[in-house]
Every structure is written in structure tokens, then in C-alpha cells.
Symmetry: C2
């Protein structure tokens, strides 16, 4: 281990509305040395995900805020660079939550060893990781899609949405995606196998969505809010289910965005349920096993948007909030 | 059967906003004669319930609108006055859906024979009927209250709310009611045994509600919307459940009332589910058995507001929409 500098990207300030590069700060610190029982982790891949926007704010969210002056939080695939923990050997590859930095210490708690031969390592940050698990558990546990029903998901080319739609197809549903731009929509239909995908930037988006859902919508996997939600809501059938795990289209607004008229929830007997992936932990083992099987057999495909260089994390993250990524966004750190 | 006139209260027009007596018309028609296979029912008690407001409108609701020029719909306890159906004898008392009129014909389908010795007949329109079943199934199936949790219900002295709170107590929860005025609040606490009841007319209602729920709210049985919902929402705990079966406080507004900020549903992982009692039909037998047992053993009490005279139905119904009744509103027709 010749490296002596640990680059860290700190949360410097909390955004008021739209976040910007000024909210982050790149610093160089000495590489820490592990104490007895610890391991030193070297970050190979850093996952960038929409939920991180919530962590930047001080307001109550579903998890504690990231701390000011500390490295931004985030899931990583890391390699054990030094070990003073008998459970880990140098060269072991683990799933960790080391954040936006080159190196981190760990006591080993919460680390999950990965098999580099089973799948590309970065897949454990996407289809085989938190986003895939979110899609699996949220769709099946809360959405409860039945064969023949119509499932709609936004950000359909993204890490979560792409898996939602493909599972919907496996379960015998009509899968309709929403994405930004013709290229993403084409990918969602032609590569991922959705029945349709509608461009939310189209001036007649709502009409196009209605045309793509001739039997209405039975499950709306909600991860964006905003204009997509507004177009979806009138199409929801009686007894439709709305698993709600993100509102990326509303994260930057100052004032709360009013939700849909409660009378629609009553008259159509909708179920709207917010969740984060950890709430559904009892289903995680099933998800891991099933997703790995579908991945191996080629039934679930995915696309990655891999950006090289830790220093690119802020601008890549900010671009993702505007849909500039195409597929699961991952930073290749080392 | 000496009677020759059947008084009917027709739905004359649909309300634009607030309904009024002008939306109804009292007419006299000949008493119909049963054909072979039919019975003639004489209405003893007519149930008046908030859901009827929705039936007056043409807009899509959870059930078909009442028809213009036809008797208003409603549940009744009726007596068989003539029978040409071998399944029914003159004098049998049945639960029916005969509507706002003295007499109605039936083929016998959907009628349920009642035992006049088991309970006062009108109880089958309240605690042992649709309102009690709504409370039981909605609270237990959707609300899933756990011992030690806090359950809040509005219209707490009413037909549904009173049962919700008493079941919550039986299940080991803290039951907090909301009602209009000191007399109702006193009744809810002293007679029904709720832990607290807050007057929604108080200027510091929201503060009082917060004080009555020191550990927040885990189940909000939503049947009113409006200002009560606004006061409840900030108090909902993580993973709170909101069974939604009515919005009486919003029925008369023209424009849809925006719902709570979806971000609250996400960040606190709430479940909001609209339902009507028929959606939970698989649980009805259990509800009927359990409610009857609790009723017999005195564990569930209720209050009735019985008004004599079919002709009083419109003004009684309109008053109920403003909380003028005190207890389950029933019209004694004969």
C-alpha cells in the first residue's frame, strides 16, 4: 500500500432547493491506518442513487442526514487493502457503505463478501444490490401484480425502474415505462422488453400514457412524483396499488407538493404505501436469490452508466437528478 | 294490509356543492302488489349514513349514483307485509336495502332475516350492521392496531367512529376520538371509554390533539378529511396506517381537495388505503360474530339518534352532514 492520500468528497453545505457542485468539497486526507480488529477498504466502485438527495438535507427524511464536513454517504464495492481482522484477507471484495472517498476503515460489521466470478462487481450496486432489491420487494410485496394487470414505472431505464418492469413481465403483466427521451424509451422496449415506454418530455405525454395503458393502471411503482404522477393518477384502476419509494421529480422544490385528491384514493380504493428497502428486510433473502437466478439466466438485463474518477461524483450525481445518466450510475473509483 | 299509499322520498336533483331539501321530493304512490316470488316489505327503520352524500352526485364514486326521480337509496329494517315467496312469512323481519320509502318489493335476494329477540332491530343498522362492520374490518384488516399503539378516529360519537375506538380499546390501544362539541366529547370518554376526545371546533384543536397523542398516531381511521386530517397528519408516526372510508368534511366542496404531501407518505412510510365495507367481504362473518359477542357482553356500547317519521329524513340527513346528530342516525318509519 504505497498510497498515502485519501481523497474525500465532503458534504460542505446543505442545498436550499436545487443542489449544486458548491455543496461538495474535494479534500485530500492521509490514508487512515486500521486498528486491531479493523480493515482498511479501498473503494473500487461507488454507487450514486437518487435517495442521496434526501440525505443532503437537514429536514426529516426516512434516514439520518449526511453530516456536514464528512464524506457523502453511499454504497460501495470495496477491496480489503489491509486487514487486522481475522475475518477478512487482503484482496477480499466486499459490499460496503464507505461513501464518497478512496479509503475507509471498517470493523467488518455490515460488510458482505462478494464473489467476483459470479457477476461483474458493480452489478452488486445495481440489479443485484439495493436498487434491484428495492424493485423486487416493493413491486411484489406492496404492488402485488397479478397476471394480466398493467404495471407502470417511471425512470424505466434506471437502476430500479428497469428491474421493476422486467419483473412485471416475468409475472405476466403488461409493463409500461416512462423515461426521458427517445433513446431511453427505445432501449426500454427493445432491450428490456417492456410492452411500451412513453417519453415524459412529449407535449402530449398524458395522452400517450393513456394510449399505452388501454386497460388502465393496476400498479404504479412511484419513484418520481411530479408530472408523471399527475398523468398516472387518472388512469389508476379500482384497487390499484402505489408502492412509493421516491419522488425525485419533487426533491428540489421548496414547498411541499400537495398529493393527489384523497377522494380518488377513497372512490377507487387505492393503496398508497411509502417504503424504503430496509423496511422489507424479511423479503431480502428471497430477492437476492431470485434476482441472481434471473440475472444468470439472462431474464433480467440492465444497463450501467459507469463514470471513471471519484472527482466526477458530484457532477454525475447532479446530472442524475435531471435524468442525464442512462442506466445505473456508478463511479469507477479504482 | 289496509295501507294504500306508499310515501317515497325521491332524489329530485343533484346538488351543486351543498345539498339542500330542494334536492328531495316527497311523493305518494300506490302501494305496489307483489308478483309471484316476491314479497312486499314495510319499512320499520331507515338508516341514514354519510355515504349517501356520494350517491346523490353524478360523479364517479365508489358505487353507482342514486337515480334521479327514484327513491333515495338506503339500508332498512323491514317487515314482510305480504309474501308470495315461500322463503318468507308475513311478520318476518329482514335487513334490506329498500330506500327512503314506506314500502318496497323484493324477490328475497339479498334479504337477511333478523332475530328481534337478539338485539333491538335498529342495532342492525348500526353497531351490528354496515357501520359496525366498516369499523371492524377497516380497523383490523387495514389499520392492524397493535397493543400500546395510538388510534385516532373522527366522528367518534357516530356509528362508525364509536365502534372503531371501542375495538381499539379492546385491542389494547390508546383510543383518541375527535368530535364536535363538549357533550359529544364527554360521551365518548365517559360512556364509550376512549382515553381522550378532542373537540374539532376548539380554536387550538391541533394543539389539543397533539397533547392527547403524546406518542404520536399509529392508526388514523379516516372518515372525515378536512381540518381533522390536517391536524392528524403531522402526528402520524413512521409506518402509520390510514384506512380511508369517508371524507364527509370534503364532500360538498366543488374543487378536489389536495391530499397531504406525498413526501410525508414516503419519508414516514405511511400506508393510505381507501376501502368500502364490501371490499372486505371475506372478513364480514368474523365481524358479525365478534360484534354480536361484544354487544351482548356489553363491551361495545353505542348511542342512537332516532327520529320518527319518514318525512324527516331529508332534514335529518342534511343535519348529519353538519354533525347535528348525536349517535347513529335512524329514522323510525313505522
Amino acid at each position: 500500500m504505497a498510497a498515502t492520500m485519501n481523497r474525500q468528497i465532503l458534504l460542505k453545505s446543505r442545498p436550499a432547493g436545487e443542489p449544486s457542485a458548491a455543496n461538495f468539497e474535494l479534500v485530500g486526507r492521509p490514508v487512515p491506518r486500521p486498528d486491531e480488529g479493523q480493515v482498511l477498504l479501498r473503494t473500487l466502485y461507488l454507487s450514486l442513487d437518487p435517495y442521496m438527495r434526501g440525505r443532503m438535507s437537514a429536514g426529516a427524511s426516512y434516514a439520518a442526514s449526511a453530516e456536514l464536513g464528512r464524506p457523502m454517504v453511499g454504497g460501495t464495492v470495496s477491496e480489503v487493502a489491509e486487514s487486522r481482522n481475522p475475518g477478512f484477507a487482503v484482496g477480499d471484495v466486499v459490499l460496503s457503505y464507505a461513501g464518497w472517498q478512496d479509503y475507509a476503515l471498517s470493523t467488518g460489521g455490515g460488510l458482505r463478501k462478494l464473489d467476483p466470478k459470479a457477476a461483474p462487481l458493480q452489478a452488486y450496486l445495481g440489479v443485484l444490490g439495493m436498487p434491484g432489491t428495492t424493485a423486487y420487494c416493493g413491486l411484489l410485496e406492496i404492488g402485488q401484480p397479478q397476471p394480466g394487470e398493467t404495471v407502470v414505472v417511471a425512470a424505466a431505464s434506471g437502476a430500479v425502474g428497469s428491474v421493476v418492469g422486467q419483473i412485471a413481465k416475468i409475472k405476466g403483466c403488461r409493463a409500461v415505462g416512462v423515461a426521458g427521451g427517445a433513446a431511453k424509451c427505445k432501449f426500454v422496449v427493445e432491450e428490456l422488453g417492456f410492452d411500451a415506454c412513453v417519453d415524459h418530455r412529449a407535449p402530449d405525454f398524458a395522452q400517450q400514457l393513456a394510449a399505452a395503458c388501454p386497460s388502465g393502471i393496476d400498479v404504479y411503482f412511484e419513484n418520481v412524483g411530479g408530472v408523471v404522477q399527475q398523468a398516472v393518477w387518472p388512469l389508476l384502476n379500482n384497487f390499484a396499488r402505489v408502492p412509493l419509494c421516491g419522488l425525485i421529480g419533487q426533491y428540489n422544490g421548496g414547498a411541499p407538493t400537495p398529493g393527489p385528491d384523497m377522494r380518488s384514493i377513497l372512490s377507487r380504493r387505492l393503496t398508497v404505501r411509502g417504503f424504503i428497502v430496509s423496511d422489507l428486510a424479511p423479503k431480502h433473502p428471497e430477492a437476492a436469490e431470485q434476482l441472481a437466478e434471473w440475472y444468470r439466466s439472462g431474464r433480467i438485463k440492465y444497463r450501467e452508466d459507469v463514470v471513471a474518477g471519484l472527482e466526477k461524483a458530484p457532477e454525475s450525481f447532479l446530472g442524475m437528478l435531471h435524468g442525464k445518466n442512462f442506466g445505473k450510475l456508478v463511479i469507477k473509483v479504482a
